[in-house]
């Protein structure tokens, strides 16, 4: 594959106060504003019904926003139909054309643009090689496995060298192993092509592994836009924290210059204002580790989950349950029922509001 064939300038995206409502009920998108940089791997993350797919469809031109504006590459997309946008989509169900074979599926977009047959053949072959389906070109779509279909859908979009590639949960139909493999492959491909990718998923781990930045959506609004680390370690609110998989939330009773009073006791340190303290499970230390940090208290192990590289402990601290994740470095584990010393520092915590 000659890389230069795809070296087209990537485009930035600007979404400004976009609102979109369907027939009845709450708006699918509520005054959404965000900027995606050129060449960025940008992920829209959220639970089903949060509006992420609607936003993707607005970018593709398959939905018109009720109000607000969308710019792609500095150009307003108002009234521009999908077939006149240099934007292509990898659909969740792949949406391959069953009456066309793999080669004809990949070449469809070029055919519609009136590209000469010889060039279509050449570019289809090249992109098929890049996406690992070079030997499947004459197959019928019905003969392909799920992973192969996913690659065809990707190749069918990429061959057009769009300014922006939109991906609507493209990996959700695949089994876990293949999924992890394709996550890496897709990430590498994006870096290599330097293309702007907007990726939709409801899987926070997938989002963190792949993205440069993540926008977390909640009920049609943007809850937070940040790097994976920012979204995970400093979630903007309880919704984002819960969605990123956190479960250690401790209500804050009072805050002063030197620390906070909480449901698990007094914690010294520099904490920001908020209603809840978030303790990341990997930042909770037990026993000998705990003695290196200032805030310590006792807890009882109520459950233990061995995960290979780490062991998870569910700890009862009065009314509050905490989850601690400890790296397995050869130290003896703790038994269920054992009382352990727990240590918490202001690093590895965040304060949240509802």
């Amino acid at each position: 594959m000659s890389g230069h064939a795809l070296a087209r300038t990537a485009s930035s995206i600007r979404v400004e106060a976009v609102t979109k409502s369907f027939e009845r009920g709450v708006p699918a998108l509520d005054a959404v504003t965000l900027d995606v940089e050129a060449g960025e791997f940008f992920t829209l993350l959220g639970p089903s019904g949060c509006g992420k797919t609607t936003l993707l469809r607005v970018l593709a031109g398959l939905e018109e926003p009720d109000t607000g504006r969308v710019e792609i590459g500095g150009r307003s997309m108002a009234g521009v139909p999908p077939h006149r946008r240099s934007v292509n989509t990898v659909f969740q169900s792949y949406a391959l054309f069953p009456h066309r074979n793999v080669r004809q599926n990949i070449g469809f977009g070029l055919e519609m643009q009136g590209v000469p047959g010889a060039e279509i053949a050449e570019r289809s072959q090249a992109i098929a090689g890049l996406t690992g389906i070079g030997t499947l070109l004459e197959r019928d779509v019905a003969q392909l496995s799920g992973g192969q279909r996913q690659r065809v859908a990707l190749a069918r979009a990429l061959v057009n060298e769009p300014d922006v590639l939109l991906l609507d949960e493209p990996l959700s139909a695949l089994d876990a192993g293949l999924r992890a493999h394709l996550q890496l492959e897709l990430k590498r491909l994006q870096r290599r092509l330097g293309m702007t990718f907007v990726f939709v998923t409801h899987d926070q781990e997938e989002a963190m592994v792949m993205s440069d930045r993540i926008a977390v959506l909640n009920a049609g609004r943007i809850a937070q836009v940040d790097t994976p680390q920012g979204v995970y370690e400093a979630p903007a609110d309880l919704f984002v924290a819960r969605f990123m998989g956190h479960e250690n939330f401790v209500p804050i009773r009072q805050r002063d210059a030197t620390g906070v009073d909480t449901a698990i006791g007094r914690l010294d340190g520099d904490f920001a204002a908020g209603s809840h303290l978030l303790l990341r499970p990997e930042a909770i230390r037990l026993d000998s580790d705990a003695r290196q940090v200032p805030n310590r208290f006792m807890a009882r192990v109520s459950e233990r989950l061995y995960r290979g590289g780490t062991t998870e402990y569910r700890l009862d601290c009065g009314d509050i349950q905490l989850m601690a994740s400890c790296a397995n470095r050869g130290q003896p584990g703790h038994e269920v029922g054992e009382t352990v010393e727990v240590g918490v520092s202001d690093r590895g915590t965040a304060t949240l509001s509802d």
Binding site: P82, A95, G109
Partner: protein, 286 residues
């Protein structure tokens, strides 16, 4: 095994195989004094059908056959043109309206074909507003009316068979994979190209089923042509019926029926090949 297959096989034997054998046999017999088939075996009926009579050769029957094929094709094409948008439109309405709209299309076909054809006679007869309008526009001679005519026959055929095209097309539209349509739009297909590449292939099985349901009975149509054509647009169905009912020449009627079956089979073969070509060399499963 025997007990499960036997009833069906018996049914087919009694109601399909035996009558067909009887019909084929009859076609190769001679016509007796009262038109009933008698020995000896002969090809007389086929000679007559081909136009060889007492007065030498005449092209009348050949014209009837060609007219039958032509009127069937024309009516089917018009039915397709009307049914595609109708089926699409119904499939995009709110779910609670769809059954009602389908019912509105189907209900007229519950009325007897004769009565509906008489209805069209009354609409197209000389002196009706429709006929006057046609005369005013110079489409017909004054006082001629639109009935009886080939035009009236085509209208009658289209009207009769429209539901049989709308229903299978509607079924196809209802389970249309809209993501394929969106994928085509996303991949630079213009609205026409979207229909050609994403909608048409998906509705092709429905279309083929509709063509079978419309063209075969239209080709054998008797009532509509008899009533609305006034002898100007007779089809092979009328020719066959006349041999059994009026002319009393059963062997000739049987031979005509065989020609109908042969033409229908050829038509099905052409349709199947056409379907394969339209769907990229794949078999279209109805």
């Amino acid at each position: 095994m025997l007990f499960t297959v036997a009833p069906g096989a018996l049914f087919i034997l009694v109601f399909l195989v035996l009558p067909s054998v009887y019909l084929v046999g009859m076609a190769f017999l001679s016509s007796g004094p009262y038109g009933l088939p008698t020995l000896p075996l002969s090809l007389q009926s086929f000679r007559e059908l081909a136009g060889f009579g007492f007065l030498g050769w005449s092209p009348g029957n050949l014209y009837t056959l060609i007219r039958s094929v032509w009127q069937t094709l024309l009516a089917t094409a018009l039915v397709i043109l009307l049914a595609y948008p109708a089926a699409y439109y119904i499939s995009t309405r709110p779910a609670r309206w769809r059954p009602l709209m389908l019912l509105a299309i189907v209900v007229p076909s519950w009325t007897n074909q004769v009565i509906r054809s008489v209805g069209w006679m009354n609409i197209f007869a000389p002196g009706t507003p429709v006929s006057d309008l046609a005369a005013l526009l110079g489409l017909t001679a004054p006082q001629m009316g639109l009935f009886p005519s080939q035009f009236a026959v085509i209208v009658g055929l289209v009207y009769n068979f429209l539901p049989f095209m709308v229903l299978p097309l509607y079924a196809a539209f209802e389970r249309l994979d809209t993501e394929q349509v969106e994928a085509a739009r996303d991949l630079f297909a213009s609205p026409v190209a979207v229909f050609r590449h994403a909608v048409f292939p998906q509705t092709l099985p429905g279309l083929m089923a509709g063509i079978v349901l419309v063209a075969i009975p239209a080709f054998g149509m008797y009532v509509v042509t008899e009533l609305l054509g006034g002898g100007k647009a007779t089809m092979i169905g009328n020719l066959v019926a006349r041999q059994f009912a009026q002319a009393s020449n059963w062997p000739l009627g049987a031979a005509g029926a065989m020609i109908m079956i042969a033409v229908t089979l050829i038509g099905l073969k052409v349709l199947r090949d056409l379907g394969r070509r339209l769907s990229g060399d794949r078999e279209v499963v109805l």
